[in-house]
């Protein structure tokens, strides 16, 4: 069994590589890419450099980034949650049901967050209590959660959310600064501190690098993982509140395929998909890069499905290029 452990986590040893400088350089590179795309976009389209358009562009990534922060911690700890988009669907459906029963905005928000938390708890319990691999568990719950939405809604939709509910997805704090953008910034700071400045964050890295070692150094591995699944579920619930509020309606197919974009964002941000390394600033820049790319392509009238080719290429390319580079330098 220890052999199996070795092969599934062939993580680069922290002592061998000057990880710190590597991470810093990855983020600077990413920042350079972001600036490059910004400049390219402003040259390619006359509509790009406009405060309101740029404000609109942030909606491309704020909801995904909320989940990506929690997902980053989860992936650093060596687990993954592919059910986040399905959690959004279920949470949104639950809010729709509550709305039909006459719930006001505060209750709707609580229902959305609560559903997310419950889904996260379900995933976390299956992974930590039953010791199941998170990839399969969340592939299963991905069908289950979205399936429940389909059972409730069929081919119908919930519409007619209360007008003050639209504040989350359509409201502005002042001028062009949207509510979602403010939530995004607050969460970025919160998760940045949590991962980089607290014992909990150190435990997350320790678990990702060596779960058995972490267990022997007194870290309650299962409890930390459970908390991470709960946080991911909660963030998916929050994203569901914002997305539902922004769209003003719920269909069971809401946020289809978003798990892919969230994982791409996390990996693009320099988080090792095998666990053990990564940073929140990286994810923040990755969110901007992806938002700018999709917004820029949108201004150039590129259809959504073609953008998904870019996302797919980005996901593979981001991991492949450093490895190709390393192979090339070796030879």
């Amino acid at each position: 069994m220890s052999l199996a452990e070795n092969t599934t986590r062939s993580i680069p040893d922290r002592l061998r590589s000057p990880l710190r400088s590597k991470v810093v350089s990855w983020e600077t590179l990413l920042l350079g890419v972001a600036i490059g795309i910004f400049v390219f976009n402003s040259l390619a389209s006359p509509y790009f450099l406009d405060a309101w358009n740029l404000s609109d562009a942030t909606f491309n990534f704020t909801e995904k980034a909320m989940i990506a922060f929690a997902m980053a911690l989860l992936i650093i700890a060596g687990e993954i949650d592919l059910s986040v988009a399905a959690i959004i669907a279920l949470a949104s459906t639950a809010m729709g049901v509550a709305m039909e029963m006459g719930a006001g905005t505060p209750v709707l928000v609580l229902v959305g967050l609560g559903t997310g938390l419950l889904c996260g708890a379900f995933n976390g319990a299956l992974v930590t209590k039953l010791g199941l691999p998170s990839i399969v568990v969340t592939i299963g719950t991905m069908s289950l959660f979205r399936g429940i939405s389909f059972i409730i809604l069929g081919d119908g939709a919930f519409r007619g959310y209360p007008s003050d509910f639209s504040w989350f997805g359509q409201g502005y704090v002042f001028w062009v600064i949207s509510v979602e953008l403010v939530i995004f910034v607050i969460l970025a700071i919160f998760f940045g501190i949590l991962l980089h400045k607290t014992n909990f964050g150190r435990a997350v890295y320790a678990i990702g690098n060596n779960p058995t070692g972490a267990l022997f150094s007194g870290i309650r591995v299962d409890r930390v993982k459970m908390i991470l699944f709960l946080m991911t579920g909660l963030m998916a619930g929050l994203a569901a509140v914002c997305l539902t509020s922004r769209l003003g309606s719920t269909r069971p197919s809401i946020a289809t395929g978003m798990e892919l974009e969230v994982v791409t964002m996390v990996v693009l941000g320099g988080v090792n998909i095998l666990g053990g390394s990564g940073s929140i600033p990286g994810v923040v820049i990755a969110a901007f890069v992806m938002g700018l790319v999709t917004f820029g392509l949108g201004l150039l009238n590129v259809p959504g499905i073609v953008m998904s080719i870019f996302i797919g290429l980005l996901l593979i390319g981001v991991i492949a290029l450093p490895r190709l580079w390393a192979m090339w330098r070796k030879s």
Binding site: I135, R146, I151, G312
Partner: protein, 326 residues
């Protein structure tokens, strides 16, 4: 272990029989031979894909791009048919196998040569393949009247009372059973998944074996692509969307261990058949087809939990070996 797997297959067989007879008590029409053949034929694409997926999972990988591969290869077959209506079906079959294998090889190369985690590779290629279909067609559909008659008739032509589509399922299953048990590649796949380090010491190239697994999975997806498009006589971007989950579900229900190295063709076929029976029984017993997604999700979770029961003592073993290491 073998005894356990055997009992799992018996259990699954029993579950399928119970399910079928439960439906039959209220709707006797469900168990007529012709309907059972129809259910089997309907499940055949799932079986073909599940066999390919099982091979990939055996080697500790996962292939989430199979449904997108199916859709892309199927679309290309349909476009070839539109361009050259007189091309014989045999050529189309070869094209579908080669093209599917090529798409699988892309996954395989990325996993083998660049050592990228399979889930990342296939999540990426899944969207890329679907996007390419859109680029090829600009989102247009290819409908029945644009396809030539022999192209769409082939999978539906019956031999001995069963459509050719169903026979494809049987033939692929037979080849797979023999290949997994009797060929070097088949055995090395079990070895790679069971213990990659030991496999290396016995002279097996782990990466190359995984590469071949992806090629096989892709090839079968391509084959299913043509059969699917021809059977339903329509091709569009979103064909078989989300089908990859059902395929993984069939494997997991069939007792294929997601940790690799354990699983049988028979189990996988029964897993696929179980899902096929559920899917076909739902409308008969008047349950909305919208239940199907949730049911296969629940089935995956229950099956994984069930699989894990056999490896329940894992935690203790790790602690023991760690104590030895001290």
């Amino acid at each position: 272990m073998i005894a356990h797997l055997k009992s799992r297959e018996a259990l699954l067989m029993g579950a399928i029989i119970v399910l079928v007879s439960l439906v039959a008590t209220r709707f006797p029409g469900f168990v007529t031979p012709s309907n059972l053949v129809a259910v089997f034929t309907d499940t055949s694409p799932l079986m073909i894909l599940a066999i390919g997926q099982m091979v990939v999972i055996l080697t500790r990988c996962i292939d989430l791009s199979v449904a997108a591969n199916l859709a892309l290869t199927g679309m290309v077959c349909a476009m070839i048919n539109v361009a050259m209506p007189d091309l014989p079906v045999g050529v189309i079959l070869v094209v579908s196998l080669v093209m599917g294998a090529f798409l699988g090889a892309i996954n395989g190369i990325l996993v083998w040569k660049l050592d990228i985690p399979p889930i990342v590779v296939t999540l990426g290629t899944m969207t890329i393949f679907r996007g390419i279909i859109f680029l090829l067609t600009e989102g247009k559909w290819i409908n029945a009247h644009e396809m030539s008659a022999h192209f769409t008739a082939f999978p539906r032509a019956t031999i001995l009372g069963m459509p050719i589509l169903g026979w494809f399922g049987i033939v692929v299953a037979l080849i797979a059973v023999v290949a997994m048990a009797r060929t070097k590649l088949g055995r090395s796949m079990y070895a790679v998944g069971g213990n990659p380090h030991a496999a290396v010491y016995t002279g097996i190239n782990v990466g190359r074996t995984q590469f071949y697994a992806f090629v096989i999975s892709g090839m079968l997806a391509g084959l299913a692509g043509y059969l699917w498009i021809a059977r339903y006589a329509v091709a569009y971007v979103d064909i078989a969307a989300g089908f990859e989950l059902e395929v993984v579900a069939a494997c997991v229900i069939g007792g294929v261990s997601i940790a690799g190295g354990a699983g049988t063709i028979i189990g996988t076929l029964l897993g696929a058949l179980f899902l096929g029976v559920v899917k076909n029984a739902l409308p008969v017993v008047d349950i909305s087809p919208f239940w199907q997604l949730a049911i296969s999700g629940a089935a995956i979770i229950i099956a994984v939990a069930f699989n894990a029961q056999s490896g329940r003592s894992k935690g203790r073993v790790i602690l023991k070996s760690a104590e030895h290491a001290q």
